[in-house]
Structures are given as structure tokens and as C-alpha cells.
């Protein structure tokens, strides 16, 4: 997941949650829109977090490698 996709998802989720919350508070419609907004926020946050965790961590960073070579 890219950063623009995350921001897009957060914007959509916030918009839906706010819209749904407002309509629900005004007694116009139920909380389906707000619940969908929260779901969008949670799913996007979960995808971003999982994507960050899965990103491979380099075993040796370049300075470490230089240090290792120096030590040899």
C-alpha cells in the first residue's frame, strides 16, 4: 500500500464517518454510513501497519558492513 492510497483511504473513511455521524445525529438516517466510514479507516490502518511490518529489514546497513570489513 502506498502513502497516497493510505491518505485516500483515511480521507474517505473520515468523510463517511463524519457524514454518517452528522446524519445520524440529525435523526435523518441510521448509522450505516458512519459504521462504513469507521470500517474504511480501520481496514486502511491495518493494511498500512501490516505493509510496514512485512517490509524487509536489511541484515547489514552500509556503515555496519564497513565496520565489519574493518574488523576483518
Amino acid at each position: 500500500m502506498t502513502k497516497p492510497q493510505l491518505f485516500f483511504g483515511l480521507a474517505v473513511g473520515t468523510l463517511l464517518a463524519a457524514l454518517g455521524g452528522t446524519l445520524s445525529a440529525a435523526g435523518i438516517t441510521g448509522s450505516g454510513l458512519a459504521a462504513t466510514g469507521v470500517l474504511v479507516l480501520l481496514v486502511n490502518a491495518a493494511y498500512w501497519t501490516l505493509g510496514q511490518r512485512r517490509r524487509p529489514i536489511p541484515v547489514e546497513s552500509p556503515p555496519d558492513r564497513r565496520l565489519a570489513q574493518g574488523a576483518g
Binding site: 474517505v12 446524519l23 450505516g32 462504513t36 481496514v43 486502511n44
Partner: protein, 312 residues
């Protein structure tokens, strides 16, 4: 917000699939339900058309066609620049969102009928009209390279657009209804009275199919979910604006919003398979069927009706 009873069958189908039940409508029965719904909607619209003034219908129809061509232009940049999809995939999916879902329309009609909300009965004409322009815009959006590769297929593409089962049955039903007028009363005990029951059966299978497709969205789930719920709202907002400009009744505003909100998963996939075979069909069908259709049926349609009733 009270959901219509037919939505309960959609939820039952989805829950059965998620619990890995062996519930499945026989293929022949499912296809029969589709044929029934298309003919029933077309007939009803045709009867209304026979008594509607052409002077009102022509400008409204032209506006609806222009609206159908505009919708893919809203979806395309989001898919291309934020989703980072290929041009062909973005164009094919944008075409799905510019076209309409007859099943979503049927659910909206069932809800309006059960609440006693009046609407322009010639709406099936708009459903048929909205099937076509998005497909053409989608092919154009795919770009010269994709179009050049399929230059020899234009005859097949046009045939697929106008002669696919959905458009053919809908237009056929409208034509028969317009020609027969009140004489359709003899077939209405079947096409009219059984409408809600057949729709319930159809939605039972749709719920199962939608839930079956959920695992396919795992890879891009965050973006797909965001797009799949934003695009219906954008389409509905634009459609509601147009319906107000056209002076439609509150029920008509809801129906046009539903048409703007829905995404095709029968007619457009068939046309795109011919026009843009290199597009990822699974992606667009899954998006419209597993995200947008349930969102429309469970959340958006009741919300549109509540909003319109509040402001009218």
C-alpha cells in the same frame, strides 16, 4: 433506517457462504431469475412509456446518456493516479462504475414500492440507456494503443453492447410494454406479483457470490474498499443534482441516485472481455460485486431514501 425484507435474503446468502455452507442456487434457476427480473422491469417501464410525453422524455434521456458518459471520467483518475493501476485496468473498471446494475435498481424499486413512494415509472428506459455510454468512454479512456489492438473487434464490441442479455431483455421488455400498454395486465400476475419473491431468491445467490469473492480483494483491500464506497457516493451526488435539475419526483431522485451509485457486473464485463481483453476482469467484477453492491444494498439505498424524504 429500516432495510427492505429482500435485503435479508442477501445477508442470508452472504452469511451461508462465510460459514462455508453448501447453499447454492441451481445455475438454471439463477439465470431464470435474471431473465424474469429484466423482463419484469422492462415491461413495467414500457407500459409507463406508452403514456409518457415524448417531449419530456427526449431531453431527460439525452441528459441521462451524457451523465453516463461523465461517470467513468470521475472514476478513472482515482484508479490511475491514486490506485496506480494500469491505464487499461483503470479504464475497464471506470466503465463498470459508469454503467448500472439492474439488481441494485431492482432493490431500490422494491424499497420504494414497499414504502409507497412514487417515482417516474419509465425509469427502466434510463437503466437501458445508462448501460451503453460508459462502455464506449471506457474503451476510449484505455487509450489509442489498446483501441488499435482491438480495431478489428468494433463490430463484435457493438454487438456485445446492444445484444447482450441484459440490454436485449430490458429493451425487449420496454418495447413489448410500450406496444401492449394496458394489455400487459394478462401477464402481470406473473411479472408483477412475483417480483419481490423472485428478487429475494436472486439476492440470496448474489449474497453468496459476493461473499465468495471477498478473498480476492485481500491484496489491495484498503484501496479497493475506499474506492468501492466512495465512487457510489460521488455518482449518487452527481445523479441527485441532475435529477433535481430535471425536476424528477423524490422517488425519481432516489432512483437516479441509485443508478449513479451502482456498478455493472454483468453487461460491462461481457463487453470489456471483447473490447479490452488485456484488462484484469476479476479486479473490476470483484470490486463492483463484493464491495459496491453490498454497500449500496445495505447502506446507501436506505440512506438516499431517508435523505430525500427528509428534504422533500
Amino acid at each position: 433506517m429500516q432495510l427492505d425484507i429482500v435485503v435479508g435474503f442477501f445477508v442470508l446468502g452472504a452469511v451461508a457462504q462465510l460459514l462455508r455452507s453448501d447453499l447454492r442456487l441451481p445455475e438454471g434457476l439463477y439465470k431464470s431469475c435474471v431473465i424474469f427480473l429484466l423482463l419484469a422491469i422492462g415491461l413495467k417501464g414500457g407500459v409507463a412509456l406508452s403514456s409518457s410525453p415524448i417531449a419530456t422524455l427526449v431531453p431527460q434521456s439525452l441528459a441521462v446518456v451524457a451523465f453516463g458518459a461523465l461517470l467513468p471520467l470521475l472514476a478513472f483518475p482515482i484508479l490511475l493516479y491514486i490506485g496506480k493501476w494500469s491505464r487499461v485496468d483503470a479504464a475497464a473498471t471506470a466503465a463498470h462504475y459508469g454503467s448500472v446494475s439492474v439488481a441494485t435498481y431492482a432493490v431500490a424499486v422494491a424499497l420504494l414500492d414497499s414504502r409507497g413512494v412514487d417515482y417516474e415509472a419509465y425509469f427502466p428506459l434510463f437503466v437501458a440507456l445508462l448501460e451503453v455510454p460508459a462502455i464506449i468512454v471506457g474503451i476510449l479512456l484505455a487509450g489509442a494503443a489498446a483501441a488499435r489492438g482491438n480495431a478489428g473487434h468494433w463490430g463484435e464490441i457493438i454487438r456485445e453492447i446492444f445484444l447482450n442479455q441484459g440490454v436485449l431483455l430490458l429493451l425487449g421488455g420496454i418495447a413489448i410494454g410500450a406496444w401492449a400498454g394496458e394489455r400487459t395486465a394478462s401477464v402481470m400476475p406473473f411479472f408483477g406479483d412475483l417480483f419481490h419473491g423472485i428478487l429475494a431468491l436472486f439476492l440470496l445467490e448474489m449474497g453468496r457470490v459476493a461473499a465468495e469473492r471477498l478473498p480476492a480483494i485481500r491484496k489491495q483491500g484498503g484501496f479497493l474498499l475506499s474506492f468501492g464506497v466512495l465512487m457510489p457516493l460521488m455518482g449518487a451526488a452527481a445523479a441527485a443534482g441532475l435529477a433535481t435539475l430535471l425536476g424528477l419526483s423524490p422517488g425519481g431522485v432516489v432512483l437516479l441516485a441509485v443508478l449513479g451509485s451502482s456498478a455493472s457486473y454483468i453487461a460491462v464485463p461481457a463487453a470489456m472481455a471483447v473490447a479490452l481483453p488485456q484488462a484484469n476482469a476479476s479486479l473490476s467484477i470483484t470490486l463492483s460485486l463484493a464491495i459496491t453492491f453490498p454497500f449500496n444494498v445495505l447502506v446507501a439505498i436506505p440512506a438516499y431514501l431517508a435523505l430525500v424524504q427528509h428534504w422533500s
